[in-house]
């Protein structure tokens, strides 16, 4: 029983040793595997990041191109609006828009549709007639421009109108050459 016991103990010890040895060898293998996996993952991640960055760069490039295009387009619209002028002229005692005025306002409308800025329309008259009635006439002119802009798609809240009547003339003489310059709506 004793020997058997001793044998049994020895066997148990061998078994234990084998087990321990087996265990330690497994851990090393696993560690290596894990490292490899991590490295693979890192490489994959790096590759993915690289791909994403490249994609991002491409998007940004495209965006920049679009922006540049947009800027270009806006510049073109601004140039067109500025070429059309910021002053629209009217006939005596009239608030009807002339074809020239419509064409000029169209250029401003196109610009307004491309951005989000607000405008102020200032109505003016010549010196003939009474000041207070002229304030009303100046307002009618500013409103005529506003209504045309709104009909062309500009939201009304982006347009402010104000009338100066015969105040603030641009030409001071008394005669049609001065009066025609003063019968106007200025866009600001």
């Amino acid at each position: 029983m004793t020997t058997k016991n001793t044998l049994g103990k020895a066997a148990a010890a061998v078994l234990m040793a084998a087990l321990v040895s087996a265990c330690s060898s497994n851990a090393a293998k696993e560690e290596a595997a894990a490292q490899a996996a991590a490295e693979r993952a890192a490489a994959e991640q790096a590759a993915a990041a690289e791909a994403a960055a490249a994609e991002q760069r491409a998007i940004e490039k495209e965006k920049a191109m679009m922006m540049a295009e947009k800027r270009e387009e806006k510049r073109r619209l601004m140039d067109a609006a500025s070429a059309a002028g910021s002053v629209f002229y009217f006939d005596y005692d009239s608030s009807s828009l002339s074809d020239d005025a419509r064409a000029a306002i169209d250029a401003h409308v196109a610009l307004m549709m491309a951005d989000s800025g607000n405008v102020r329309l200032e109505g003016h008259t010549d010196e003939r007639g009474t000041r207070e009635y002229n304030l009303a006439l100046g307002e009618r002119r500013a409103n005529a421009v506003r209504d045309y802009m709104v009909a062309s798609g500009v939201p009304a809240y982006r347009i402010e109108t104000i009338s100066y009547g015969e105040e603030n003339p641009v030409a001071y003489g008394s005669g049609e050459s001065s009066w025609m310059k003063n019968r106007r709506v200025e866009i600001k």
Binding site: E127, R131, L135, A136, E139, I162
Partner: protein, 430 residues
């Protein structure tokens, strides 16, 4: 935007050199003005008289166009009391009437004066005007008022004031606006408000103590009222669109004004105490330039609801609107005389804008001026004269014309333009 209210005192100090001071020139008088002599008044007091009373009265009567004052150099004697008068001295220089006077100074100035009929050799009338020394010029105008009334039967309006807008252009070509109050003879101008933004449509409160006007100082038009003595002011409206044409009701409780917040310009009524706003007219056309009838029961206003601007009447009790003017294509900016009958307005004839008077009873329209860009008529509180703005070259100047067209004046400023004159009501004695 750089607006400021200039206080009375400050302006008084520099008033003699103030902007927009008016010089009054009679450009046409009546054919046979009455000869009148104002002998220099005696001064009972320390030092010298604060003003030359006789000279001020002389200028007032000359300015009416109805009198031709006798030059002091031609006077053969200078009486200051009844006992000193030798009528033959005045008959010798063909004087019809003579005024003598004496000024004494206690706590206040007191002017005792008498009007003599040289032809008949009798005293017609004697009177007394009292006032503070700082208002010496107004006291003198008060004497002129009394003499004018005695001789014409119409109360004088010399002791009254004007408000007007003067505009000067700075070197960069930008306009600079000043709202100014001055005596009716253009003297003692005081700047009430100044700045680069337009000032428009000034009008008087019925007690002559306040003015209302439109200012663009907030970059939009708004209506303000301002107390003359203190400079204290209140913003009454600041609506989207037009805020224009403030005019006090004769009882001082309401202000009629023009707003376009509801779409097109319409006449509204503002209760100055409760601030309640009532819309009077309701039309897609332009309704503007309201003015009260003296009884406060109706308003006249300009409307182009018939296609062209014409004068209409709005009855407050019923809301009834009727057209008043029919002659010509353009009648606007009415102002009604105290008699409730004569209406001064701007009338277009042959493309030119004149001042005309429309008689509400006979419905006759009489053109008073020959110049072509006349506007902003305002009637003197005694109904005798219409003051208005007209163009002379590139400048706007004031002119005045008798309601019967007989007498004309021009009131050019020393510099810049003067526009939108408004004659004060009769003022209580200072």
């Amino acid at each position: 935007m750089a607006q400021r209210i200039t206080l009375l005192l400050l302006s008084l100090m520099c008033s003699s050199l103030a902007w927009g001071q008016l010089e009054i020139q009679v450009t046409r008088g009546i054919d046979n003005p009455t000869s009148i002599a104002i002998a220099p008044f005696a001064w009972d007091g320390l030092g010298t008289s604060p003003v030359d009373f006789a000279q001020i009265i002389d200028s007032d009567l000359a300015r009416s166009g109805q009198f031709s004052p006798v030059s002091r150099r031609d006077m053969l004697s200078l009486p200051t009391s009844k006992a000193d008068i030798f009528y033959r001295d005045w008959r010798a220089i063909a004087t019809r009437y003579l005024v003598i006077g004496r000024v004494s100074k206690g706590t206040q100035l007191r002017v005792d004066f008498a009007l003599h009929d040289v032809e008949r050799g009798i005293e017609l009338f004697s009177g007394q005007v009292v006032g503070s020394e700082s208002e010496a010029r107004m006291v003198a105008h008060g004497v002129a008022d009394a003499i004018y009334e005695k001789l014409t039967g119409i109360p004088g309006a010399f002791a009254t004031r004007l408000i007007y807008v003067s505009v000067t252009r700075n070197p960069e070509g930008k306009d600079f606006y000043r709202l100014t109050v001055a005596d009716a003879d253009g003297r003692r101008p005081i700047v009430l408000l100044e700045g680069r933004d337009p000032i428009l449509a000034p009008s008087w409160s019925p007690d002559g103590k306040e003015v209302a006007y439109v200012s663009f100082e907030s970059s939009r038009p708004a209506i303000y009222r301002q107390v003359l003595a203190t400079g204290e002011r209140e913003q009454l409206t600041n609506f989207q669109g037009l805020n224009n044409s403030p005019v006090w009701s004769p009882d001082g409780r309401f202000m009629a004004l023009v707003l376009s917040k509801d779409g097109s310009p319409d006449v509204y009524l503002l209760d100055l105490e409760t601030k309640a706003l009532t819309r009077l007219t309701r039309h897609y056309a332009i309704d503007t330039e309201p003015t009260w009838m003296p009884d406060g029961k109706s308003l006249l206003f300009t409307s182009d609801r018939g296609g062209r601007p014409q004068i209409y009447r709005y009855e407050l009790a019923t809301g009834k609107i009727e057209r008043v003017t029919f002659e010509g294509r353009y009648n606007a900016r009415a102002r009604v005389a105290e008699d409730g009958r004569n209406v001064a307005l701007v009338h277009q004839r042959d493309g030119r804008f004149h001042i005309a008077v429309f008689d509400l009873v006979t419905e006759r329209l009489t053109v008073l001026t020959e110049t072509s860009l006349d506007e902003s008529p305002s009637i003197a509180p005694n109904g005798s004269l219409v003051i208005y703005a007209t163009k002379r070259g590139e400048r706007s100047v004031l002119g005045a014309v008798a309601v019967d067209g007989g007498v004309k004046f021009s009131l050019p400023a020393r510099s810049g333009s003067v526009q939108e004159p408004a004659w004060s009501p009769m003022l209580p004695q200072q």
